[in-house]
Assembly symmetry: C2
């Protein structure tokens, strides 16, 4: 496996990409709320989207455009999700696309649109109309950070990464930016990520790599594939690295996939760490289940349990709650075979607690900002790994009056 | 349908029942933590239990005993769940049963056991050994309130009810007590309820009535049938009303069922109102779905959404979150047919918001302590109704250090 290197530059780290962010007026001044990423050359586009029945207008538009798997630019606004906005919402998303295409002198079909923010309010398209021209003028290689800032909602830090790896005699770079901070439950994990790469890759090979990488990273922190109205992960590959076109099932694909997964995992963990009001990042590992699917179901039940998450926040070694959450997952296992550790500290073995000394040690582990909870539910080979956060008083404060 | 009357007396309201509660020492003095309910005459017992894979020892014991459908007494401790306690836990539950049977001079098989409290810690059976004799001495018709207090955990108020209705020429009474306060999510709704009645009823008829009544009440507030390690609802019928034995499919069964459901609903609503740190009791009604099951799935998705529940707490008319939660339920419906009201205030019709004036009116509705959210997802006949609560900062505080 090729060595991966972290490099500077976010979405403009790969050759041929420019980016910009600007304050359009959807959010209060001077917060940037409109981002643009473009490639100097035509590229291949892949995307992964929310499975919510109520998908936002830009998601519907992207899905439709993706049939062609070709693209040159991505325009994203924050502050308004353009979701549950009916026919007008779709017209607004299309106008946003046309505005970017016109000013970039590109075909409309090569521009992809993303939105994130409040649901159910009309998109204030007039602000975007005024902002696209200055946004295009600002495009540059240094614009990646401003673009990453312009897609933030409740995020407290801006999330970027770029990594590089050798494939044959060429070096490939993948850059990315993401927003997302509400990682404490499946239905609030609005994730929006924009990935760029200079790799030359076939459309199907890119889509397969993105689908699998998103599944193992973004879908493991959002804990459920079935998330918000606006979840969008787009990846644009412009081929500027000059490598032979990567196809499915080749060693080059494996390297590309590993690089892409690595970039996605970095962004996913950044999102997790920036969970709304979160103070902990906890890895949940389930082993010994009958199938990976069973293990995943148990891991999700633990990762989404409010009682477990509040115990994480309180640094309270109430491991009975973890076991009880596993028990209600709807997966058959023998409680007498259940074991549980926090990092290397066993607290429960074969269905019974290990006593007060173990609990005291567990409490010390829980004082860490990041740790791992390992459940063994039997002696089979099914395995799963997820990331979750604690649930704090601040989470409630942040979300109690989001629209006000 | 017969008229129902509320009467005083909780579990001792029906003839032939006695109750008591005492401080045994599991909880800090002087909190009562051991309850006993007995019938002067042999009776018919029915029960409904948790579906959690990790059922507590007393649940396993009750299930086994229920094969005989006969009973005379119920002993319940709070402060310790006797769950995840292995073989010793089962021995302790059996000893608790034997202690009560010995002091009451009853066959062991006629005594049922319940426990609620912290999971995974050995039951301090020595406290119970000392307390059963004085507990039995205290038995009386006035003991219902002390018994109801003795089963409380994080409850802030004690929950009792008794109702009466005429069946033919006889008057039947059903009394009940319950504990439960963590109603904000499926996996934390430990419900323990003890129901008594003077009705003469066949074992299968009693079990059928209890199963259905619990399904439409306790399982609609706990939002999911798949709850804690200790959920237990027991009903003991001693036949002292002298009515002809009630059998399935008769008008008398229907009246009995309606009375039982009414008692369960009252207890369930008391539990909901006493939700940990809760300030709101919100009814979720879903109509127009293809099937009742689909409607229930959508209602559950809304009722368990953290974003929805924090918006309830913040009195924030962020109805987009309600729609988004419905959308992620995994049930197919046309978003363009989605309508939504808070009490009589429509906020969304046919997939679109009704504007700022409607939102302002919705905000006024949300200032109430109790209100109804109605979703219409189409024009079919599937229908469901659930109760949920808000999620407050206090909820987090209460649960962050439950064991400490």
């Amino acid at each position: 496996m090729a060595t991966l290197h972290t490099v500077q530059g976010g979405v403009t780290a790969p050759g041929g990409f420019l980016a910009a962010g600007i304050h359009a007026g959807i959010k209060p001044a001077p917060l940037p709320d409109l981002a643009l990423v473009t490639s100097a050359h035509p590229g291949v586009m892949a995307g992964v989207f929310t499975k919510n029945r109520i998908a936002a207008a830009p998601v519907l538009l992207c899905r439709r455009q993706l049939r062609r798997h070709a693209g040159r630019a991505i325009i994203i606004n924050s502050g308004n999700a353009n979701a549950l906005t009916g026919r007008q919402g779709m017209l607004d998303a299309m106008e946003m696309r046309t505005l970017a295409a016109t000013h970039l002198r590109l075909p409309v079909q090569s521009v992809f649109v993303g939105s994130t923010g409040v649901i159910g309010r009309p998109l204030p398209i007039r602000h975007i109309r005024r902002a696209v021209a200055p946004l295009v003028r600002r495009l540059g290689r240094a614009g990646h950070r401003q673009a990453a800032r312009a897609i933030m909602t409740t995020d407290t830090v801006c999330k970027e990464i770029a990594r590089r790896a050798a494939v044959g005699r060429r070096v490939l770079t993948i850059g990315g930016m993401a927003k997302g901070a509400g990682m404490v439950h499946p239905d609030m994990a609005t994730v929006l990520a924009c990935l760029t790469t200079d790799a030359a890759i076939a459309p199907r090979a890119l889509q397969a790599a993105l689908t699998r990488a998103a599944d193992e990273t973004f879908n493991c922190i959002s804990v459920d594939g079935d998330t918000s109205t606006n979840d969008t992960v787009l990846c644009l590959a412009n081929g500027q690295a000059g490598n032979p076109v990567i196809r499915m099932g080749t060693p080059a694909w494996n390297t590309f996939y590993a690089l892409l997964r690595d970039v996605c995992l970095s962004l996913a963990r950044q999102i997790c760490r920036d969970g709304e009001g979160c103070t902990k990042l906890v890895e949940i590992v389930v082993g010994g289940a009958k199938t990976d699917r069973d293990a995943g179901t148990i891991a999700r039940a633990v990762a989404t349990s409010l009682l477990v998450k509040t115990a994480f926040f309180g640094e309270d070694p109430n491991w009975g709650r973890i076991a009880a959450a596993a028990g209600r997952a709807g997966v058959a296992f023998d409680p007498a075979g259940l074991s549980l550790s926090l990092n290397d500290t066993p607290v429960m073995r074969n269905g019974r607690g290990m006593g007060d000394r173990a609990d005291r040690r567990a409490r010390r582990v829980m004082r860490n900002r990041e740790y791992t909870v390992t459940l063994s539910v039997g002696n089979r080979r099914g395995h799963a790994r997820l990331w979750t956060t604690d649930l704090s008083r601040d989470y409630v404060t942040i979300n109690a009056s989001y629209t006000t």
